[in-house]
């Protein structure tokens, strides 16, 4: 699969990454070469193979439904410079 300029722009939008116009051709080329490497997988028949998501037969560990975390809002927000009254500030979403 070879990606063109439009593909790269679409993927960058999906990933919420701003890409400078002049870098787009470079990404198109390198992403295409990675996909070419990846497509070596297509030579193998995997019809009857089950997908493996995790190295061990994993299951979700459960615990008692009790509070285990104390509120550390102030501690966590100390590292942010965009906090007011315990809330994170972002650009206005609604007019």
């Amino acid at each position: 699969m070879s990606l063109d300029k439009n593909d790269v722009e679409k993927i960058a939008h999906l990933a919420r990454i701003a890409i400078v116009e002049e870098d787009v051709p470079g990404y198109a080329e390198s992403l295409s070469s990675i996909l070419k490497l990846v497509e070596q997988m297509n030579a193998v028949d995997t019809d009857n193979v089950t997908p493996m998501a995790h190295p061990h037969a994993a299951f979700q560990r459960l615990r008692e439904d009790v509070v285990t975390e104390e509120n550390q809002r102030e501690h966590f927000q100390k590292i942010s410079s965009n906090v007011e009254k315990g809330l994170y500030l972002v650009p206005k979403v609604l007019d």
Binding site: R16, L37, Q40, M41, P51, M52, P55, Q60, S80, V90
Partner: protein
Amino acid sequence: MHNYTIAELTQGLKKGDFSSEELTKSFLQRIKKYDPELNSFITVSEDHALAQARTADELIAKGNGSILTGIPFAQKDIFCTNGIKTTCGSKMLDNFIAPYDATVIHNFNQAGSVMLGKTNMDEFAMGSSNETSFYGGVKNPWDILTVPGGSSGGSAAAVAARLAPAATGTDTGGSIRQPAALCGLTGVKPTYGRVSRYGMIAFASSLDQAGTFTQTAEDSALMLNVMSGFDEKDSTSVDKEVPDYTANLNQDLKGLKIGLPKEYFGEGLNADVAKIVEEAIAEYKKMGAEIIDISLPNSHLSVPAYYVIAPAECSSNLSRFDGVRFGYRCEDPKDLEDMYKRSRGEGFGEEVKRRIMIGAYVLSAGYYDAYYLKAQKIRHLISDDFKAAFEKVDVIMGPTSPEVAFKAGEKTDDPVSMYLSDIYTIATNLAGLPGMSVPCGFSNKMPVGLQIIGNYFDESRLLNVAHQYQQTTDWHQQMPEAFK
């Protein structure tokens, strides 16, 4: 004392030959002298280290020290350290002071160890040469024109130059074993789930595993005794008892079955590296091991499958870096989407953006089955290859890396050629198996690593196999002339 192993330093501290404060000062001194050239540390935590050293000295004086009490370590800058900058090698986290300790850091603190600082690394652990770091590349102490490997390149260079007796690393596709090989160190990646991932900044959660850089296998055992174990804060941590990893080190190797996969000795392997690895295997034969030819037929698919699975997981994990709560935020965003996009566009480096985009693509509607599901199926085939092999053999051996350290800049323009430097290490991560690299010789004066892969939770055997080799060879004791 910079050349001592952890085991020797522990003895020295106990006997009172030197204090932890003296030891720590001497390593800080070496960092000041040599690191401006190597660039192996992002942060040197001098005051913190000296305070820890003084506390350790008090513990030791009262007879309350444990084996790692007072021993200085370098920690990869991927582990969150409460109150000390944690960057993960990225501009995105250049201003990030973690509000808590990773479990690995917590375990070292509990043991009374000293943290010298945080080591340089490829950005978000994505790279095989340490050249993607926002803080610049790291030089290989064996030849400063070459790379130390990656992503844990700073940890490897720091230990190789003896700026720290040992260091931690993380290994998602070879990020401990490959730099250990390129820098002439013993590097261990334990079984997936053996060491807690809590507070270790996530790259690919089903592959990431923390481990060690040391001079000797014995030192790795000492570190893993402290690092390993169940942690309820990590949902994939395995609840299984941790054996004393030093207990089996001295067992002899008579009758040990070593599998040599033919796929690890084929095309693409440097001839001199092949010869040196074969000599190491001959040494094992002398020790009474039985050499068995095996096949891991799907090995050639490990790099392709990895470059779907790892980017897919990274695109999801790194979506948390959005400029809202912590990390880099762009100047004057015009709206929320502009803030997300420019914070990420400006905060991430090129390789990280590339991998996030590959991940977003292979997970996107219409491509999921062809890429992501396919890769997960291939992952199963690769895992089954190992399962079949371990029915016949106790350990698998081969080269860690197809070549010795390459020149800085040599592969930076061609991501695929960079990816292929992990061709022998990636399959182990896909299967979740433990693996290590052991120094086994030199090619053109550059270190070569022997890779040893074990069955699930068989770290004790790996360390035993490496330790026995280190009793009859001295490759692991060599160090680069310029840093003696």
